[in-house]
């Protein structure tokens, strides 16, 4: 008993001939169907190349078009010829010209001999598949498809649409439950001949002629009627990408293909010299009885699909520039924005760096330059500290910074004196954790030695900017994690507030706070605010400060505040 190979060939004839010869010389009968669209001389040449082999036959030629009946018709005639001409054949293995055997023919033969009654054909009901192209599954069987999907896409789509709207549906022949599955199968003589010699075959053929992609459903459906034992999987390793186009194997897949232990793989790139050289040699190793295990290849291809459909979050490049809302993450990781903290605490940056182990930058969006951690002039990814380059696209600056430091958590300072263009981006980025002590910018003013009228102008200016910024953060489309305290609120309980921020960042410093940054001296700040009011400005972002009185929580002499 033997396995026989039916090959459907339409291009790369040289490679097809090579594979056919390989099987044939190992004593396996072959029937080849060559697409009618292959021109005469090419066909004759191809035939000539295999002329010396007495177990190779050529079946009646059909002009094949993807997705339509002709492929099934071609398969039928080739199979009929196979069953007639080679009586010793027990299993018929359907393959294509771009298939390649990965294991010695003897191993396929042994494998099939151990399972003499089994039909290997992927065959699942339409409810269970999610891989169909164009979203057509059950409708493949109930609509009519007279137009070519590849050449007459518009007509195809419109006609489908029309039938849906008119609720037209074809009747599925009695006793038939539509099944779908890979085109590449291996059936026993019993099952295959039962399908081909079925008294109702004319009826079935007439029905399937107008089903879409019948090569994925004709045998898959009908074998359910006759087979005693169906293994619903294909022995051919054949993977499709998200567009329904088969993945192609190249020389660099050699090891992967070897380790898959699959019997046959498709599609092989016709110029993959090394694959053809390595796999089409006489069996050079002891026979192995391993089960096919394409897991690794599956994983490779599903990763590729993921890359193509979802991409890497936070990446913008020549192949990925998502529309607003489709970024699946505007940046590639979480980061923290602190507003007002360096005004309130004297050594905040160093302190938070110690507590969290993160890179802590100064004001990245300062007007003079970018203040990177450690005062660097260039940062990861060769980001420049030039304010002009940054302001050319603050958004790109931000996404670049976070992308370049993948795996780290960036912290930086922001405030109303900085360039504000990036504000909206920060607010709408889910990865941003923004903590704000509103009105804290008044503390450096309070400590500065400027004329009061100038101070008032600056204060009014900064307050206007921060108010707009806060309004933005309170808008509905804000996605950032935002905490806002007024200065008065914050200093009521600074420890707890700092702890909450640290908890959110994570990292080291998970213990309770034992060391806190030094707070600026606020004695007289209440009076300062009152003076601003007296000058006609209304400082409201700081919250309520009692006049002429230290804030209740304020430590004496600016000593560190300890919590046990």
């Amino acid at each position: 008993m033997s396995v026989g190979f039916v090959m459907l060939v339409h291009d790369a004839l040289d490679r097809a001939a090579q594979v056919a010869r390989h099987w044939s010389e190992h004593g396996k009968p072959i029937v080849i169907h060559v697409d009618k669209r292959v021109d005469g001389p090419a066909f004759e040449y191809f035939k000539g190349k295999l002329a010396d082999l007495d177990n190779v036959r050529f079946s009646e030629r059909h002009a094949c078009e993807w997705g339509n009946w002709s492929i099934v018709a071609a398969t039928q005639s080739a199979c009929e010829l196979m069953l007639d001409a080679f009586t010793e054949v027990r299993h018929v293995y359907l393959s294509s010209g771009s298939c390649m055997p990965l294991r010695p023919v003897e191993e396929i033969q042994t494998y099939l001999d151990e399972r003499p009654r089994t039909d290997f054909i992927e065959s699942v009901t339409t409810d269970e598949v999610d891989w169909t192209v164009g979203g057509l599954d059950q409708e493949r069987f109930t609509l009519r498809f007279p137009f070519s999907w590849k050449r007459q896409r518009r007509l195809f789509d419109h006609y489908v649409d029309l039938q849906r709207r008119l609720k037209l549906a074809r009747r599925i022949p009695d006793g038939v439950t539509p099944h779908l599955g890979s085109q590449w199968w291996c059936l026993t003589r019993q099952t295959l001949s039962a399908i081909l010699e079925d008294p109702r075959r004319a009826e079935f053929d007439r029905y399937f002629r107008r089903v879409w992609i019948p090569d994925e459903s004709y045998f898959q459906t009908l074998s359910r009627l006759y087979s005693t034992q169906i293994e619903s999987r294909s022995l051919t390793l054949s993977k499709f990408d998200f567009q329904g186009k088969p993945h192609v194997f190249y020389d660099d897949h050699l090891q992967l293909l070897r380790r898959s232990d699959c019997f046959v793989a498709r599609k092989i790139w016709p110029r993959a010299e090394r694959l053809y050289r390595e796999f089409l040699v006489p069996a050079s190793r002891a026979l192995v009885m391993a089960e096919p295990n394409p897991l690794k290849i599956d994983r490779l291809f599903s990763r590729a699909t993921e890359r193509r459909t979802r991409g890497r979050a936070g990446l913008y490049m020549q192949g990925r520039f998502p529309n607003e809302g489709w970024e699946n993450g505007k940046t590639s990781g979480r980061y923290s924005v602190f507003e007002g903290f360096t005004d309130l605490f004297e050594d905040f940056e160093a302190w938070i760096a110690r507590r969290t182990g993160n890179r802590v930058h100064g004001h990245l969006f300062a007007e003079d330059q970018v203040h990177f951690a450690g005062g660097d002039a260039v940062y990861n990814g060769a980001l420049s500290d030039s304010a002009q380059l940054r302001e050319y696209s603050p958004q790109a600056f931000m996404t670049n910074l976070i992308w370049n430091t993948r795996g780290e958590h960036q912290c930086f300072q922001f405030g109303p004196a900085d360039d504000q263009k990036v504000s909206e981006f920060l607010a709408t980025d889910r990865n941003a954790q923004i903590s704000i002590i509103s009105g804290a910018w008044a503390i450096p003013l309070f400590h500065s030695n400027q004329n009061f009228s100038d101070l008032r102008k600056v204060a009014a200016h900064l307050q206007r900017i921060e108010t707009a910024h806060l309004d933005l953060l309170r808008m509905g489309k804000t996605k950032a994690r935002v905490r806002i305290w007024s200065l008065a609120e914050f200093i009521e309980n600074p420890m707890e507030n700092l702890q909450a921020i640290l908890d959110e960042i994570g990292g080291i410093g998970q213990r309770r706070l034992s060391e806190v940054p030094v707070m600026a001296d606020l004695s007289g700040f209440g009076q300062f605010l009152q003076n601003l009011k007296n000058q006609g400005m209304s400082p409201h972002l700081m919250g309520d400060f009692p006049l002429n009185q230290d804030s209740p929580e304020k430590p004496q002499g600016g000593r560190p505040y300890l919590v046990k």
């Binding site: 020389d251 590729a304 490049m317």
Partner: protein, 336 residues
């Protein structure tokens, strides 16, 4: 896109094509071997002037990738470039002494040659200092890529121009003909690029890298464009609009995904900063045949006199395409 806009773009394309037809008279065949071009050949198109030093490695690199034929426009070389090219078995050379600038920096000439010889071929439009890297380029010839693009019904392939520079002054290592330029000039900036969308043509406009950082920090909007679409399955109705940055019809510029995914894309490694660069920029400054009144060259020239080192401690050393892929400078997309 509205009907009117689409009609305007069609007229514009027609105009560029007419212009190319007119400019064909400026080209005289020096050595025409285009009859050797076979049906599915991949062809390189390139305009150059005095590049005899760079040519041996350029030809070697692309022959090894599997390019079948080269078509050059030689714009008045006097350093032996013409003879060198004419002697190559797979090269066709067209000579011209006309203005590079008035041919829109060679685009008109190239558009004509593409129309004449590139129809229905995969064509690569390059400068002689650009080296294409695509996913798996170390194990798969370029034919594997174009076959895959064909099977995916994709007609154009997007890249970013990646400026490569040496560590230390640009003229510290002497470049000899035939050497791999990236033996010494192998540093690049990995993450300081900005992208905007050009609504008119639909292409991305990418800027940044060492040139923006070192020469254009005070006028970033003038930094050179790094987006390129060098590999196109050509049809005689197509036309490049400006260098290989963008072309018409605008669908060919959509080499990026807008719904979060990544399309397969590559990089053009740019070996601009060899030791020949300093003298070249001086010469180009005098000729005034380059883009925006040689603004770029002015910037380089003054930049180079002051501080010729582009290297910084965050510069990345080039290893292979996989590194570029991990860094997010190119993508495998769904090609596996």
């Amino acid at each position: 896109m509205g009907l009117l806009k689409s009609y305007r773009l069609r007229l514009e394309r027609k105009r560029w094509r007419m212009r190319a037809v007119r400019k064909r008279r400026q080209l005289a065949p020096v050595k025409n071997r285009t009859d050797q071009i076979a049906k599915s050949d991949i062809i390189v198109f390139c305009t150059l002037r005095n590049e005899v030093v760079r040519l041996p490695y350029f030809l070697k690199y692309y022959r090894e990738l599997g390019v079948d034929h080269f078509v050059f426009v030689d714009n008045g070389s006097d350093d032996g470039t013409t003879d060198y090219l004419s002697a190559q078995p797979d090269v066709s050379v067209f000579g011209t002494h006309h203005s590079y600038k008035r041919s829109r920096f060679g685009v008109d000439w190239i558009n004509w040659l593409l129309r004449k010889y590139g129809h229905q071929h995969w064509c690569l439009v390059l400068d002689v200092d650009e080296f294409l890297v695509y996913p798996f380029s170390d194990t798969r010839p370029i034919k594997a890529l174009t076959d895959w693009l064909d099977a995916s019904s994709v007609k154009s392939f997007g890249t970013m121009l990646l400026d490569m520079y040496p560590k230390g002054p640009i003229d510290s290592v002497k470049y000899e003909a035939g050497n791999d330029p990236f033996e010494h000039v192998h540093w690049f900036d990995s993450g300081n690029y900005t992208i905007q969308k050009n609504e008119r043509y639909g292409n991305l406009w990418i800027q940044g890298g060492p040139r923006a950082r070192a020469f254009f920090a005070d006028k970033p909007e003038r930094a050179p464009a790094l987006n390129k679409v060098p590999l196109v399955r050509w049809d005689r109705s197509y036309a490049y609009v400006s260098s290989s940055h963008m072309l018409l019809p605008r669908g060919l510029n959509l080499v990026y995904d807008e719904w979060g995914g990544e399309k397969t894309s590559g990089c053009l490694l740019h070996a601009k900063f060899l030791d020949t660069f300093t003298s070249k920029s001086e010469e180009e400054l005098k000729r005034k045949e380059h883009f925006a009144n040689s603004h770029e060259y002015k910037a380089y020239h003054s930049g180079l006199v002051e501080d010729p080192d582009l290297w910084c401690k965050w510069s990345e050393k080039y290893i292979n395409w996989r590194q570029l892929e991990i860094l997010g400078l190119m993508s495998k997309g769904n090609w596996a």
